[in-house]
Every structure is written in C-alpha cells, then in structure tokens.
C-alpha cells in the first residue's frame, strides 16, 4: 500500500511538472518552482565545497532550503608510531 501511495505521489509530481514546470518540496507541500524566488550560493575552502539553494515566498518566507556539502578531506591524520626497544 505504501509503495502504491509513493507511486501515485510520483505520478502527481510528473503530471504537475509536465503542465506547470519543475516542482519542489516546500513548507506548503509540493509546489511549482516558478511560484517562488530562487537563490543559489556556495563557498569553498580547504575543508569543503558547499552549494545551497533557497526558495522564498512573495513575502520573503523561506519555503525551501537544500544544501550539498562536499567533504574534501579528513581533517586530521591519525598518527601511528612504534616505541624503541632499549
């Protein structure tokens, strides 16, 4: 039953996308992307490369924010050493 509901949900999104354009998940549920203002951004440093996308309502309410954080490296090497036999 859960799989059937998920299938119906996917079909609904495909239907809306076909007729209304790309859909996004918002605090109001799944809505048409073009109904909101979109802003993307990101930054990069030695530790990460991050990008994010935000959608806001006409009154500035944040309705969706997603982020992708690309971890670049292990921040600290685990050292290993052996003791001398004297």
């Amino acid at each position: 039953m859960t799989k059937f509901r998920a299938f119906i949900q996917r079909m609904k999104i495909k239907f809306r996308t076909f007729f209304h354009g790309p859909q996004i998940t918002t605090i109001y549920g799944v809505r048409t992307e073009s109904d909101f203002s979109k802003e993307v951004g990101g930054f990069e440093n030695d530790n990460e490369k991050t990008s994010w996308v935000e959608y806001r309502d006409f009154d500035g309410t944040l309705v969706h924010r997603s982020a992708n954080v690309q971890l670049k490296k292990w921040p600290e090497q685990i050292g290993a050493s052996v003791g001398a036999i004297r």
């Binding site: 605090i27 530790n47 990460e48 309705v63 997603s66």
Partner: protein
C-alpha cells in the same frame, strides 16, 4: 640496507578490517569468527552549539539536531569501500553520500558524527563543515575521494 623501525602498512589496513585484537573487550558477535560481516555505522548531525570532538566515546543525543523528517541517531552510513593501503597509509571511505532527505532543521548545525551502531554506538569520528540549516529540503554530505590523505578515515 639498514633495518627501519616502523608499523607495517599492511597492519593499518588490517586494523580497519578488524584483523587484530590486542585486548579482550566484550564485543557484539559478527556471526562468524573466520568470515565476519561488516559492522553497521550511522551518521548523526549536531548543532553548531555542540561540543563534538575527539573526546566523545559514543553516540549521544545531547546537542543532536531535531526537526521534521530527522530521526534521532541519524541515518545509516553506506557500506564502506574495502579498506586499502597506499604508500604508508591505510584508508577507507563510505561508498556513497550521506543523504538526509526532506528534512527541516532550523537550528544551525555544523557537524556529523559517525558511530558504530553494531558495537554499542561507539564513536568513530566527527567531521565539521560550514554552519547549515535545511528547510523542507535535502542535506547531502558528499564523501571525499577515497585515497590516502583524502579518505574519510586515514591511518597514516
């Protein structure tokens, strides 16, 4: 040619595979001693106001994020790439991204702690990143290149 004092590189890879046991701790059975299954690991997110770091020994809910779509304890970590060695380093990395799908986490968070959920939630590592919030969206933590010096876990 002189002898050189060193830890065997192969030993580093073998540690990641659990070949060696110097003590006699009480551990959760891995079903078979000769062909053990891999442990399961989880990844929990922590608030920017938290204090995760080298001192933690196990998963704890203190300062963990909470919000719609997020379950306490976090998500399962994809299976790790088979531990390997290169140069004098042993290393491994999860085989896929950590994806927190359709969550709302409005209080800023900046760390993920990976822990062994098979072995009493023992802590493995904490990784920090720029402070984030998520609103009805998805947080994807993409893993670094699985190579010596960049892998998520390095025994150098």
């Amino acid at each position: 040619m002189a002898n050189t004092q060193a830890i065997s590189t192969s030993f580093k890879g073998e540690l990641l595979n659990g070949f060696h046991q110097f003590g006699s701790p009480t551990i959760v059975s891995r079903t078979s001693l000769t062909a053990p299954t891999a442990d399961s690991f989880k990844a929990a997110l922590y608030l920017a106001s938290g204090s995760q770091g080298a001192a933690i020994t196990a998963y704890a809910a203190t300062n963990e994020v909470s919000g719609t779509g997020y379950s306490a304890g976090g998500i399962a970590v994809p299976a790790w790439v088979a531990p390997s060695t290169s140069g004098t380093t042993g290393f491994t990395t999860p085989g896929g991204s950590l994806v927190y799908t359709t969550v709302t986490l409005t209080t800023a968070f900046d760390a993920v702690t990976i822990y062994n959920s098979t072995q009493g939630n023992k802590a493995v590592s904490t990784h920090t990143f720029g402070s984030q919030t998520i609103t009805a969206g998805t947080l994807t933590l993409t893993m670094p290149t699985n190579a010596a010096g960049t892998a998520l876990l390095n025994l150098a």
